[in-house]
Amino acid sequence: MIDEVTLVKQLKNKKNKDAAFRDLISQYKEALYWHIRKIVISHDDANDVLQNTFIKVFKNIDTFKEESKLYSWMYRIASNESLTFIKKRAKEKKIDITEVYIDLASNLQSDIYFSGDEIQIVLQKAIATLPPKQKLVFNMKYYDDLKYNQISEILETSVGSLKASYFHAVKKIENFIKKTD
């Protein structure tokens, strides 16, 4: 595994760029995929968004100022690409973003790339009702086990605000699950 600093240097060097990019994909593909998948729900959509994310990273690596960590920068791109994708879907269907999420969660039962049981579908439906920021924070904290300072760097939000967002998210989800019991 190549360290971040070396990888960035190689990515910014035209000679090593292609080889370094392969290493970059290899290192971050799974983490980014799951981060995206939990936002866009469908595997096919997650695959498209993941590809767009890596292409954006490849094209914009020269503008990466190294003020934050590479993974934070890539997570931020992935988050933005995912949210943009959902917004685009909402615009196409002329419905609200929340409605898009509810539709996606409702379709999970028939999704061949979903092996969860009834309660996991309920959890996804509960997450679907959250505002975008609370959704991102919940996924990163609950599923990805990221620390608040890491999430803070990715979303460029204060730790205090993230804690509040997470608190509201878990309370809403708890209430949602209790209602469906």
Binding site: D18, F21, R22, I25, S26, K29, E30, Y33, W34, R37, K38, I41, H43, L50, Q51, F54, I55, F58, L108, Y113, F114, S115, G116, D117, I119, Q120, I121, V122, L123, Q124, Y142, Y143, Y166, F167, V170, K171, I173, E174, I177
Partner: protein, 181 residues
């Protein structure tokens, strides 16, 4: 708040667990680098591949450009004369219209001004007092001439004899005579 959050978090964990239920196809992550590389390659080369140029395009390109510049300069000279003419025509048209309106408005005002009945005797006296230095003999002569010409305009022929007799035998004469006595 923290305790409350932990309780909610534990509730979700006990109910649902950490598994999201999302799955991917077999070997998805193994093949992903190739997919990206192909897509990126296509994306990067799409511009180059889409546009083609004639085989001799770059030959004599300098000559073609310089000839084009010379032609452009000639055209600019012609265009500049044309532009000048086009600029002058509307200006002269506008000037003609203004002149036409100005003359008419001057004449209109002039006819309105020649209304001697509206001039009071005081105004004439004041004018004569103020402009006595600027009036020469010729001006006075011309005025006398004008007065005579006005007298000439009186049509005595229209006064018949009976009217003259009536005028002679009016009481006015008697009055005048009585006054004399």
């Amino acid at each position: 708040m923290n305790e409350d959050k932990l309780n909610s978090e534990n509730f979700i964990y006990q109910k649902v667990g950490k598994e999201s239920g999302f799955t991917v196809s077999l070997n998805y992550f193994e093949e992903i680098e190739n997919d990206f590389s192909i897509r990126l390659f296509q994306d990067e080369n799409i511009k180059k591949k889409s546009f083609e140029i004639p085989s001799d395009y770059f030959d004599n390109l300098e000559g073609k450009i310089t000839r084009k510049i010379e032609l452009k300069q000639r055209k600019e000279k012609l265009i500049s004369f044309k532009k000048l003419a086009l600029k002058i025509i509307p200006i002269s048209a506008a000037a003609s219209i203004i002149l036409f309106i100005g003359v008419n408005s001057f004449n209109y005002n002039k006819t309105n001004l020649i209304d001697f009945s509206s001039i009071t005797n005081n105004e004439i006296e004041n004018w004569l007092m103020n402009n006595s230095n600027s009036i020469n003999d010729e001006d006075i002569n011309s005025l006398i001439y004008d007065v005579n010409s006005l007298d000439d305009d009186l049509e005595f022929t229209y006064i018949d004899n009976l009217k003259i007799e009536d005028y002679i035998y009016t009481d006015y004469d008697l009055i005048i005579i009585n006054e004399l006595y």
